[in-house]
Symmetry: C2
Subunit: 459 residues, 2 copies
């Protein structure tokens, strides 16, 4: 890992903005910036100060009027000398300034390299560094809160506690090994078994939180299906209308992804494109059992099956429900156009099919809020407590699975009364995996590359 050179990158989003920032980090950040800056001598200014001036090319061409922010020494994001050049937010100008920084001795930063340096310089652990990327990608309150909690070390502290307990355990076992010829047992096996049980419980809790964490981070995909004229488009509009304020408040966030997203209680729901299902012919049941349509339903976290209370056929509905059950899908049955038939009549006709059936009118927006709440409840039970630790990162989840495996091995070993030497091996393996999440043990360059390669350049 090269830490001797100075890196540079555009740190603001691409495209035209009022302000754009070029960030430099490294031992020479300030001297490099000083070479292209006309104004005060930056090398003589205090840390955490701002200076107005001009960026001037080596051929004396004026590039931009800027302000420069200085971070000297270790009190910066990266833990290194850092300079942020705020220029006019023209991509052309920002690129010109960046090129000039390179010409003056900086190197183009790799994706995530600023945060990687923050990690390598001990400003944050690996789990915290990963939270930075999650925080930047956060597009709902729950995602932002869990990422922020992780960034602030919530998750790391949990792991640290697990690890410390295990280290104490290991110390006793290894003490036994030192005195192995004397055949003493320092570690009370019952107490140790209890500790392993506790650790297993805590680990599994973290592992189980990933289901929720994944939902928070990636959102919930919802397939709204139903026969033509069941009112799917109207429902979609009603759902989106209900949420218009929130959607427009985060305008721009969904630009490059799926267009139709809903924010329910701070969790993002993605209405996946079920055009294939929507446009099916009348023989929906027949077609739904095969091919693409089923594939799409399976890829959704929740299926909303919408039907028209005036048109629906009981037998067909029963077949539909059986299919959902057979496929193990999470589904919501939603009876639409209830205002046309009357709620009592609709309930009398259909309610016995499914205890959880919802009766709405997409057109008059009746019970749309209930549908939203029910969608939320389908994937998330109770309120999300973003203060408690929720694992949102697949790498952490996978590593925790390995931790749990080690714990199982340790328990099995103890049950089989294997030697302290073999037990110590399992414990060390377990400690390795726990340390791997936060980077307390040395992490493979490949893994670091994978982690930071997913970051945007400039972070």
């Amino acid at each position: 890992m090269e830490l001797n050179d100075t890196i540079a990158a555009i740190a603001t989003a691409s495209g035209i903005g009022a302000i754009g920032i070029i960030r430099l980090s490294g031992a020479d950040a300030i001297t490099i910036a000083n070479k292209i800056f006309k104004g005060k001598d930056l090398t003589k200014q205090a840390t955490h100060t701002i200076h107005f001036g001009h960026i001037v090319a080596f051929d004396s061409t004026l590039i931009d009027e800027v302000v420069v922010s200085l971070y000297k020494g270790t009190k910066s994001y990266t833990g290194e000398n850092t300079v942020e050049i705020s220029g006019h937010g023209s991509p052309y100008i920002l690129q010109s300034i960046l090129q000039l920084c390179i010409a003056a001795g900086a190197r183009m930063a790799l994706p995530g390299e600023f945060t990687q340096r923050a990690f390598l310089n001990g400003k944050m652990d690996l789990a915290q560094a990963e939270a930075v990327a999650d925080l930047i990608a956060a597009d709902s309150k729950a995602a932002q809160q869990t990422a922020l909690n992780q960034l602030r070390g919530g998750f790391s502290n949990d792991l640290k506690q697990l690890r410390e307990q295990l280290i104490n355990f290991a110390a006793l076992i290894e003490l036994e090994l030192d005195f192995s010829q004397e055949d003493v047992a320092f570690a009370d096996r019952t107490q140790l078994a209890n500790l392993i049980a506790e650790l297993t419980f805590a680990t599994n809790q973290l592992i189980n939180s990933f289901q929720l964490g994944n939902v928070i981070k990636n959102g919930v995909s919802v397939a709204i299906i139903g026969k033509p004229n069941a009112g799917k488009s109207t429902l979609l509009n009603s759902l989106l209308n209900e949420d218009r304020a929130i959607v427009s408040a985060i305008a721009g966030t969904t630009r490059d992804t799926i267009e139709e997203t809903l924010n329910i209680n701070g969790v993002l729901f993605r209405l996946i494109d079920t055009a294939g299902i929507r446009d099916d012919s009348d023989d929906l049941i027949e077609q739904i059992g095969v091919g693409k349509s089923l594939e799409k339903m399976r890829s959704a976290d929740v299926v909303v099956y919408l039907f028209d209370v005036l048109q629906a056929d009981l037998t067909e509905l029963i077949e539909q429900i059986e299919l959902f059950k057979k496929e193990g899908l999470k589904y919501l049955l939603v009876a639409n156009k209830v205002d046309d038939l009357g709620l009592a009549a609709a309930q009398a006709k259909f309610a016995m099919l499914d205890a959880n059936m919802l009766f709405i009118s997409a057109k008059t927006k009746q019970h749309i809020d209930t549908l939203q709440q029910r969608l939320y409840n389908t994937v998330i039970s109770g309120q999300i407590n973003t203060e408690s630790t929720i694992v949102t990162n697949a790498r952490h989840h996978d590593t925790l699975l390995k931790v749990a495996e080690c714990l199982t091995d340790i328990k099995a070993g103890m049950d089989a009364d294997i030697s302290g030497e073999l037990l110590a091996l399992d414990i060390r393996r377990c400690l390795y995996y726990l340390g791997n999440i936060t980077g307390q043990v040395e992490v493979d360059r490949d893994i670091l590359g994978t982690i930071f390669g997913k970051f945007c350049i400039g972070k």
Copy 2:
């Protein structure tokens, strides 16, 4: 114009980035930021300093870890207290912080309102303020240099000089009016006539520079047309390949506009979509005289007519040239596939048609650089001297035309020996228009609205 309140906006480009900035400006900027900032008391910190801390909502929800930059008093961009909050570049988070600023007492800024305040607070004149928008939109060296020159007051100084000369003139005329009953003439009419001639010359020079200014600001549109298999696509690729380095150096700048742009000597050339012409049948000449094809050619600044030296028909080419001349189009005749026929043979066959005909091979990239230089010369004679004043703004151009009109009126009045009173009216009108460009005279709110309405929000 409301200047008493504090405005807030996201100042960085939309989308996901490493860093995003919310900018606050106004008397209460620092106290408002202080309400939502957990860290040092911002009201007690010095100007031009940076502070790490947290943005916390009124319900104590942590929103983000940020650094805050303080500008106190008039030494800021707007000339007011200014705070820049640098947070994680998630649109969701930036929007949350902005909402919080609004809740804490700020008002959402209108487009360009920060720069408008800079103008109203006397930090820059109107022409300089307009240069800010041009600078942000700059996507070539020439555009950036002319905007920067204007921002630094180059254009304003020229206008100031014109205006001062005219004011001196006016003073003499008005002095005459004061003594009108005594029938004295303080102003030497010959000298005055000379001055008006000088002013007219300078004004016309500025007006004429707009043709170049417009090219610099908006680029040059080029239509490459020709019969099928003339080699248009190959030429396009060769042109773009030649320029790949420059194009990729400003990656992202052209994303939302036309895809194929060329940077020649710092000027942007846009290769306009001539699919309609390109895909025409063999009867090109016939079709080109009518409808859409001609429309597209007319909308281009330059037409490149490409033909295959092995296939081209002399009669057809002559008709083509006559059409271009009849339509008054700027055109370049380019003979392609010269390597297949041999340069000498190609020249012998076609050169007599047009003295400026170019002989190239798009495939082997022979003389592609000459074509680029010729394209450049077609619209720009000589090197662009970006140090001299070039009018790039249509409003300035239109206002200068009115100035020229007034000067003509003044001259006509003097020639007709009209009274000083009437002359003074024309002079005041002329002064008004000159002052209108820089905002030295009070500018209509409507005009200000139009100017700043074109800015992005946050600038």
